[in-house]
């Protein structure tokens, strides 16, 4: 059954995908860092949604929706309007392209990010494995 995006349920579904993906576990075996996905209001999304994932040594330890991103001091924040984030999760917009064309804002250590490009790319691929239900006006 499709899970609404963005939501806490979706974050937890992604956690399951990550924790059951052997390739991700291998590639991300040295990764230490948590993420906040900041989905900015766009279309029918009237308020920002923050999804938090704690990623550690190839596993996702924690996944939840945050009322306020300040609840967690995440190492990285990826911020984009809903329509952009949906296209990334659907695989219609390359994450690197979104980053380079300023559609996706990245904050956190670029040193760490660039050292771990395969992990980041595999993570994005895993988001595409979640059976997702997107808002009808999210530019899908």
């Amino acid at each position: 059954m499709a899970i609404p995006f963005p939501s806490e349920a979706w974050a937890k579904a992604l956690k399951d995908v990550l924790n059951n993906d052997a390739e991700y576990a291998q590639i991300a075996r040295n990764w230490e860092g948590d993420f906040v996905f900041a989905i900015e209001p766009d279309g029918s999304l009237a308020r920002p949604v923050y999804m938090y994932l704690n990623l550690w040594h190839g596993q996702c330890l924690e996944a939840m929706e945050l009322a306020d991103p300040a609840e967690k001091k995440a190492a990285f924040t990826l911020a984009a309007p809903l329509s952009v984030m949906v296209r990334i999760v659907q695989g219609k917009l390359d994450a690197m392209q979104a980053m380079m064309t300023r559609q996706l804002k990245v904050s956190g250590s670029m040193v760490y990010m660039m050292k771990n490009v395969p992990t980041v790319l595999k993570f994005v691929k895993c988001t595409q494995k979640v059976e997702s239900e997107f808002p009808v006006d999210s530019g899908q």
Partner: protein
């Protein structure tokens, strides 16, 4: 005032006569500035028979309409002439502070002609210019030369662009260096300076840069804020230009073992991220730049020095299979101080290692030096021999094409039209195949860094789209438009590391110049500059047969992120000539294209007859 001073300082080194020339306003409008305007100004003087190292080769230092402003990453100038490496059009731009300082003296540029009878340097202090004796500077390296000139001028804020020993000895890939290791590296402009006995250009000025409209300040301020917050800027600031080394390696876009392999095991030890976590001790910037991609590093107990850029890291790293960042840094610093272009030098050294591996170059040729992959010491020895012109150095100093030819292996040289290929492999980003094959200055990655488009840097507003990086069909128009965009960058002169959108650049130029280019007109200025350089090269003998890639880049790799891929050059070139409006048989811009771009003189030269 329209963002251009409209004045060139002219220096005849043969007679010592110093004067000035006006730059016509219609030329400034049609060609914007920088390299395109230089092509317009030098067009008639660059002839097929002109000796690049002879006194008649003009040498032009030129800025752009934004140089010296606090606009985003626009503190650059360009040096143009006929290239001793390619015998074609030469342009090489440089950051630091020299370009802005030229404009602060009240000139847009400096045009040198002739040859001095003994070593000299130009001292341009505000409006006053004089040639000074440089005999005691001859033989000095590029950093010491700067220090000595500043001391002589009693002005620590004077800015100096100079040559090292390589330029003095007219090595065809000698560079010009200024400030903290900012270089005009490619096409041998340092050799042209050396041929003129011109050791350095020192400038100091205090005049304001003209701006057409007061709104420019708000526009440039907003553009800088946007640039500072840009993801690519953050990456460049934290990790330098080699920040994406791991990613390029993953894609098979970073050459290994002289373009014969893909995937470098030691990439994590030599990348920009590795530098940030080891030897990095500071960052440096060019004039008014918010990026700060320059690296300052400290090796052991030594002094702080310049850290390597991406091309240096790959050239002296994966290219010869060295995974020692300190050794790579040392080799890069050595090339800078001697005045050698790192790309050409490391490429030629990579070729020497490959020739040695195949037994085409032996210990008898090298004077007993074993050229083994992974050995940086041998590379250091080869650099030394190159500058001295001793032993194998006699052939190394001719670049990859000359070295390969001497040893009967021309097909092994990874070069196009005499310029060594930079370290972005077109098998990992096929659009780079077209870029290298058609660049007006040989295999250059700054006439279009299309590899950035191939990994996501699309510019939909000007029709530059991201396509499958392994495919070739349907890519030529996008490559063409990106070349026109980068031609504009090289006119402004804006750094290609600055992720400034086309609309923002146009807004900046319009506010600075008052020319009020439409988007179409602005991009056409890029197309015009591109076509003029092509026409000039056609006049100097370049044909469609020159639009090729070396064998190595047309040989599929068996491993890595680009395994099995080669650029389909016949398809891409066919589409490219159509996209550019060039004649496929001759490789020349058609008469209609040149007329459409208001390049009537070039149309008459290439096709005869009369044009409007």
């Amino acid at each position: 005032m329209n963002g251009c001073l409209g004045r060139l300082l002219t220096v005849d080194l043969g007679t010592g006569r110093i004067g000035e020339e006006a730059i016509a306003e219609n030329d400034r409008r049609d060609f914007v500035g920088g390299a395109s305007l230089a092509a317009r100004l030098l067009y008639r003087r660059l002839t097929p028979t002109l000796d690049p190292l002879g006194p008649d080769n003009p040498l032009l230092f030129l800025t752009g309409p934004l140089t010296g402003t606090a606009g985003p990453a626009v503190g650059r100038f360009v040096v143009c002439a006929k290239s001793p490496a390619t015998h074609l059009w030469a342009e090489s731009n440089c950051g630091g502070f020299v370009g802005p300082e030229i404009r602060f003296t009240g000139y847009d540029g400096i045009l040198f002609s002739g040859r001095a009878s003994s070593p000299v340097y130009l001292w341009l202090n505000d409006g006053k210019a004089e040639l000074r004796d440089a005999s005691r500077l001859w033989g000095k390296d590029a950093y010491e030369t700067q220090s000595l000139i500043k001391r002589e001028a009693a002005d620590s804020l004077a800015r100096v662009a100079c040559i090292g020993v390589a330029g003095e000895r007219m090595i065809p890939f000698a560079l010009i260096l200024g400030d903290h290791g900012r270089v005009a590296g490619r096409t041998g402009m340092g050799a042209v300076m050396g041929s003129k006995n011109l050791k350095a250009v020192a400038v100091r000025g205090s005049s304001p840069v003209p701006i057409a409209r007061a709104e420019f300040q708000a526009i440039r301020s907003r553009a800088n804020v946007e640039l500072r917050n840009d993801n690519v800027t953050k990456m460049a600031r934290e990790t330098g230009s080699a920040g994406a080394a791991e990613y390029f390696d993953l894609l098979g876009e970073m050459p290994v073992r002289y373009f014969s392999r893909s995937g470098f095991e030691g990439v994590g030890q030599v990348s920009g991220a590795a530098m940030a976590e080891s030897i990095l001790t500071g960052v440096s910037t060019c004039h008014a730049c918010v990026i700060a991609c320059g690296r300052k590093v400290t090796l052991g107990d030594g002094p702080e020095g310049k850290g390597p850029e991406y091309e240096t890291i790959v050239g002296f790293g994966p290219n010869i299979e060295v995974d020692d960042l300190a050794a790579i840094t040392h080799l890069g610093q050595l090339c800078d101080s001697l005045g050698l272009d790192v790309i050409s030098m490391s490429n030629t050294i990579g070729l020497a290692y490959a020739l040695y591996e195949r037994g085409l170059l032996t210990n008898a040729d090298t004077g007993g030096i074993a050229l083994k992959w992974g050995d940086p010491k041998a590379a250091e020895t080869l650099i030394d021999l190159t500058v001295k012109g001793e032993g194998i150095g006699e052939w190394l100093r001719r670049g990859a094409r000359g070295l390969a030819k001497h040893f009967g292996a021309e097909e092994m040289a990874v070069q196009v039209n005499g310029l060594e290929v930079a370290y972005h492999d077109p098998r990992g980003a096929t659009g780079m195949g077209l870029v290298y094959a058609t660049s007006p200055r040989g295999a250059c990655h700054n006439q279009s860094d299309y590899f950035i488009v191939e990994i996501g840097g699309a510019m939909e507003e000007i029709g530059v789209t991201m396509l499958d990086r392994a495919s070739s069909e349907g890519k030529a128009l996008s490559v063409s438009r990106h070349q026109w965009w980068r031609t504009l960058n090289n006119s402004l002169v804006m750094c290609v590391f600055a992720n400034v959108p086309f609309a923002a650049a146009r807004e900046l130029v319009n506010a600075a110049t008052g020319f009020d280019y439409s988007a179409e007109e602005f991009l056409r200025c890029g197309e015009r500059g591109w076509a003029l350089k092509r026409a000039m090269n056609n006049r100097m003998g370049l044909t469609a047969a020159n639009d090729t890639l070396p064998k190595a880049l047309l040989t599929p790799l068996s491993e890595g992120g680009a395994a099995g891929v080669i650029p389909d050059m016949p398809t891409m070139l066919r589409e490219y000539y159509a996209a550019q409006g060039w004649d496929a048989a001759t490789g020349r811009p058609t008469k209609d294209t040149l007329s459409r771009l208001a390049l009537g003189e070039a149309a008459r030269d290439l096709w005869g007859g009369t044009t409007p």
